[in-house]
């Protein structure tokens, strides 16, 4: 990747104006962006917008788009409110040095299929806040076409009774072969499956009658794909196991080893 100019806007409006040009690109952590083959006009660095925060709001947490994965992983408030699921989901990602720079906004906005954080946030019924697009459920954002907008923050509602997270990796620190997050929310059981390898999708959103038959039926309706890490059939087979484990943890409020 080459960059002709660098800009660190001080307002979201300025960042938004800059990102309307096709050759310009918004830069969050620059973990994956740097590996793309492209000639960037202006790299728009969001680190001047004060978005590197994690704060409590309305019984939940607002995560600034530039909060790092490491900040989420080590935040005592998030640890207490979501049964340690953030640490569990994020700590296997590459290394501490990587997670000190990778941002929640970067992973969510890019809609990476392999995103552990997006999988967990989807199960927690998170909402994204965009500068022009306003607030919307992460689920809707995941399905929406790419828009030239600035992701400001992600709101994670509170009230989850239990949260489970199970992912499978071929080797430590690698991308997940499959990732599953389950949360017992006030609306019912919510389960998200990520790294299918396409972007994370909900298996169920407000499930109150959870059973083996329901799980089998829902998994039957979910699409899985093949890539260099696993075939679609393999993913489907382990999805059944990981979903069961994540749901058990969410129901029982405990965390077992994978």
């Amino acid at each position: 990747m080459t960059i002709r100019e660098y800009a660190r806007p001080e307002t979201a409006e300025e960042a938004w104006q800059l990102c309307q040009k096709r050759q310009n690109v918004v830069m969050a952590g620059n973990m994956w962006l740097r590996m793309q083959r492209r000639a960037v006009g202006t790299a728009i660095d969001l680190s001047g917008l004060g978005l590197d925060f994690v704060r409590e709001r309305d019984g939940g947490f607002e995560l600034g788009a530039m909060a790092t994965l490491r900040e989420l992983e080590t935040h005592p408030g998030l640890e207490a409110a979501y049964a340690g699921a953030f640490a569990r989901a994020l700590s296997p990602i590459v290394g501490v040095q990587f997670r000190n720079t990778a941002t929640v906004g970067g992973s969510v906005f890019a809609r990476f299929g392999f995103s552990d954080v997006a999988t967990l946030l989807l199960a927690l019924d998170a909402r994204v806040r965009l500068y022009k697009g306003g607030e919307m459920p992460l689920e809707a954002f995941q399905r929406a076409p790419f828009a030239r907008d600035i992701l400001l923050s992600v709101f994670v509602p509170g009230g989850a009774q239990g949260v489970g997270y199970h992912a499978m990796r071929r080797s430590a620190t690698d991308f997940p072969v499959l990732a599953v997050a389950a949360a017992q929310t006030p609306g019912g059981l919510r389960v998200a499956v990520g790294a299918r390898p396409a972007r994370a999708q909900l298996l169920c959103a407000q499930e109150r009658e959870w059973s083996d038959a329901r799980r089998a039926e829902q998994l039957q309706g979910m699409a899985f794909g093949s890539n260099m890490r696993a075939t679609a059939d393999y993913r489907r087979a382990i999805a059944d196991v990981l979903v069961r484990r994540a749901v058990r943890d969410a129901m029982e409020g405990k965390q077992d080893a994978d």
Binding site: N30, A43, T173
Partner: protein
């Protein structure tokens, strides 16, 4: 573009292209301990401390580091000496290419975690890859170092 930052306690003003990484800036400043091993933001060889936190300098845009405090192994020679001795005693170095990155991350860990368990150590250092040692000698050396460091602090 001109980038001003503090490097190992000294104010530095570097003239770098807009797409230069912190890694490239550091090499241009003669910081030869900082290596690039993988080009895929993975191996940990380019680890430096940015405002007190270990980061991969290969993925940091140099321009973003304007005004920041950067520390490389060159700036931590005294603190690194005991760890280097432990690594040598355990035969934990072969080609030595990955050692500066590992040392920087071990020192960051020693600053951040108090009496880490072996599992916490493994987790903290999982992002430092070494293709020679198989890690066992490194783990012994690091356990020894942490123990000696703690005893020294008492």
């Amino acid at each position: 573009m001109r980038i001003e930052l503090t490097l190992n306690g000294q104010r530095v003003c570097a003239d770098m292209p807009a797409d230069a990484t912190l890694y490239e800036l550091l090499r241009a400043q003669g910081m030869k301990s900082v290596k690039c091993g993988c080009e895929t933001t993975n191996c940990g060889l380019c680890t430096v401390h940015l405002n007190g936190r270990p980061v991969l300098s290969c993925s940091q845009l140099a321009a973003r580091c304007a005004g920041a405090e950067v520390v490389t192994l060159e700036g931590l020679q005294d603190e690194a000496q005991l760890l280097a001795q432990c690594l040598a005693d355990e035969g934990a170095e072969q080609c030595g290419f990955c050692s500066p990155g590992l040392v920087m991350n071990v020192l960051a860990m020693a600053h951040e975690l108090r009496s880490p368990t072996p599992e916490q150590v493994d987790r903290y250092l999982a992002g430092n890859l070494c293709r020679c040692t198989g890690y066992m000698s490194q783990r012994r050396a690091i356990a020894k170092y942490l123990k000696m460091r703690e005893e020294g602090a008492r």
